[in-house]
């Protein structure tokens, strides 16, 4: 790997401008009360004090994206017959995301195991993932809702990222973690940063120090299966849930989608768009039968998928990166940490299964 670089805070906007010449650059900024990732605009301030309200999920997995364009035309040989042509629409161009957080980008590693599986690679995701680089900011002071350290991560985790940027006095130390990352660090605005390495270590350790001890989650996958049929448990957990879906839309590792068609005249497009298992429609069948008829069934799937089913087929990796967004954004204060811990500590009633 190339040496570590240093960027003066004063040069940050110029560096992003430089990057924006050849890439689409996204950076966090305020929109109303929320901090979201928006196309970089040198005239607008960026906001990197805390993790953004919305993770940069959409940069690789847009909220709605075109899959296939189709056109109808009349068969010249038989005018009563309609011919249809279907064409794939693959994403183009390179993107750089600045100011993502370790948990945000680790979310994509959860996607990767599903979307880049050998025999069923998702060509749309792959194109975007390969052409998007993440310059991730190490967190200096985790919030009370952060629990990345419960799930094998940390405020300075670089997994999935191309560059890890650690804020130190008056600047950032930039460490490359991939070839893509090295290429981003060639600007003349950057100087050698080796001499700051100890400061970087301090920042990382200091941040980790804010986090309380993590509980042992190794039993979570089995314990969640043990309470699968205990609907009382799940009804309690979901009692206040409004089925609004905020917890999944804001989640960096929620990857479910729907496919829908839209047509105007002789043309149309097949889209995919974010969908989520907290919605009653998600599993509703044509017959009216719904395998997850209540919000308790659906919350069970969200928690179960992340802490039990996903780990069962992906080497034990929990598909929650501990960003805490679902906790912060839930209008009724449902806390996934509590549910998982309650499941772990749940003792089956004596005499019952």
């Amino acid at each position: 790997m190339d040496p570590v670089k240093y960027l003066k805070s004063a040069d940050l906007m110029s560096w992003l401008e430089e990057l924006a010449r050849e890439n689409k650059v996204f950076a966090p900024r305020y929109e109303g009360d929320a901090v979201i990732f928006a196309p970089f605009d040198p005239k607008q301030e960026i906001s990197i004090k805390h993790a953004a309200t919305m993770p940069p999920k959409k940069t690789v997995f847009p909220q709605s994206e075109k899959l296939v364009d189709f056109t109808y035309s009349k068969d010249p040989e038989n005018l009563s017959r309609i011919l249809i042509e279907a064409k794939e629409i693959l994403p183009k161009g390179t993107t750089v995301v600045f100011g993502s957080r370790p948990c945000d980008v680790r979310g994509f590693t959860m996607f990767d195991r599903v979307y880049l599986a050998e025999k069923t690679t998702d060509v749309y995701y792959k194109a975007r993932r390969e052409n998007t680089s993440f310059i991730t900011l190490a967190c200096e002071k985790p919030e009370t809702t952060c629990f990345c350290h419960w799930v094998d991560s940390s405020p300075s985790d670089a997994s999935g990222s191309d560059v890890l940027a650690t804020p130190i006095e008056d600047g950032y130390v930039l460490e490359p973690f991939s070839e893509k990352g090295q290429k981003l660090l060639t600007s003349s605005l950057l100087e050698n940063g080796e001499r700051w390495i100890l400061e970087v270590k301090d920042v990382h350790e200091n941040a980790a120090g804010f986090l309380a001890n993590a509980p042992d989650l190794s039993q979570a996958p089995q314990k969640l299966l043990d309470v699968f049929d205990n609907m009382e448990f799940w009804e309690n957990a979901a009692a206040k849930c409004l089925s609004c879906g905020a917890c999944t839309y804001l989640c960096p590792s929620c990857y479910c989608f729907n496919i829908t068609d839209e047509t105007t005249g002789m043309k149309g497009t097949r889209f995919r768009s974010w969908d989520n298992c907290m919605s009653a429609q998600f599993t509703m069948e044509a017959s009216g039968h719904n395998p997850r008829p209540t919000k308790a069934h659906r919350l069970k799937n969200r928690v179960g998928h992340k802490f039990s089913y996903y780990p069962a087929i992906h080497d034990g990796v929990i598909s929650c990166c501990g960003c805490g967004r679902c906790i912060k954004s839930c209008p009724v204060g449902i806390d996934i940490r509590e549910i998982v811990q309650e499941a772990i500590n749940h003792e089956p009633a004596i005499g019952k299964e």
């Binding site: 249809i84 599903v114 060509v123 792959k126 496919i259 097949r270 395998p291 089913y309 087929i313």
Partner: protein, 277 residues
């Protein structure tokens, strides 16, 4: 190597439409690209996503057997948007197909065994390709019995071939309807009860069943009474599907995905899954 785009349907033409019942239509389709048609292979039990562009996709079993290579057959029961749109199509119309998807019946493991097929309503569709495949490879299998039931004679699909099935010496066919019907010459009675009357021996036998949930429930009980073990019972599941390739997250039961790990499961495998059918 370029990755395959799993979401891009292959264009196909409807060559034949058969009105099976008042709400079931069968489509025989061929891919427009002769090369694709030539190279297309699948296994009995696998499914396809049919596209009506502008409306959407829905999942159907390929119910022609792999041993008949000139077309793919899908039988579509009208239940909602996409199925209604498909019912408006006729010969010569274009359709998108994503196939084959999913797993298939373990027909290799069934070799040398007796087979009992138990189909209810549109549930006959997934059984058909396996049964025809076995009849095309008749010597590999023992006694083959079919019990096919529908609400009434007019609800019975595949009418045009039932007579030939009844006449075959190497296939024991029982047809049943729920209630008495003028002119009906076969059995009257609910599938699980008729099954108990026929009482196939469970010895070295595999039962393959598909149908509406309530029928499956009582059929499984009947099979148990007849001495069938869970490992000897094979069925197919229906879950709402979108991507068909294990990505969109819609069809999971715990950590199993019906579009990849199914739709075919043994009763033993189903018991291992979390209780969420």
């Amino acid at each position: 190597m370029k990755d395959k785009n799993h979401y891009l349907p292959e264009m196909a033409t409807i060559n034949e439409v058969i009105q099976e019942t008042h709400n079931i239509m069968t489509f025989r389709v061929t891919f427009n690209d002769p090369q694709v048609m030539e190279n297309f292979t699948f296994q009995p039990g696998q499914v396809g996503q049919l596209s009506s562009f502008g409306t959407g996709e829905a999942t159907f079993v390929i119910n022609s057997p792999p041993t008949r290579k000139d077309y793919l057959q899908f039988s579509v029961m009208r239940t909602g948007e996409v199925t209604s749109k498909l019912h408006s199509l006729s010969e010569g119309d274009q359709i998108g197909v994503r196939a084959p998807l999913g797993n298939f019946f373990p027909y290799e493991d069934m070799k040398g065994k007796d087979i009992v097929f138990i189909g209810g309503g549109i549930g006959m569709a997934p059984l058909r390709p396996l049964m025809l495949y076995m009849l095309d490879n008749r010597k590999d299998y023992g006694k083959i019995t079919l019990l096919y039931g529908a609400r009434s004679p007019v609800d019975m699909a595949f009418n045009y071939e039932l007579q030939s099935w009844l006449e075959r010496e190497d296939l024991e066919t029982h047809l049943t309807i729920d209630a008495k019907y003028e002119g009906w010459q076969h059995t009257v009675g609910l599938i699980p009860n008729v099954l108990l009357d026929i009482a196939p021996s469970s010895e070295n036998c595999v039962a393959v069943t598909c149908g509406p949930p309530i029928m499956i429930k009582f059929t499984l009980q009947a099979l148990e009474k007849l001495g069938f073990k869970d490992e000897q019972i094979v069925t197919t599941l229906e879950k709402r599907m979108k991507c068909g390739v294990g990505i969109c997250g819609r069809c999971n039961i715990g950590s199993s995905y019906v579009c990849m790990d199914g739709p075919v499961f043994t009763a033993a495998q189903l018991k291992e899954l979390p209780n969420e059918l």
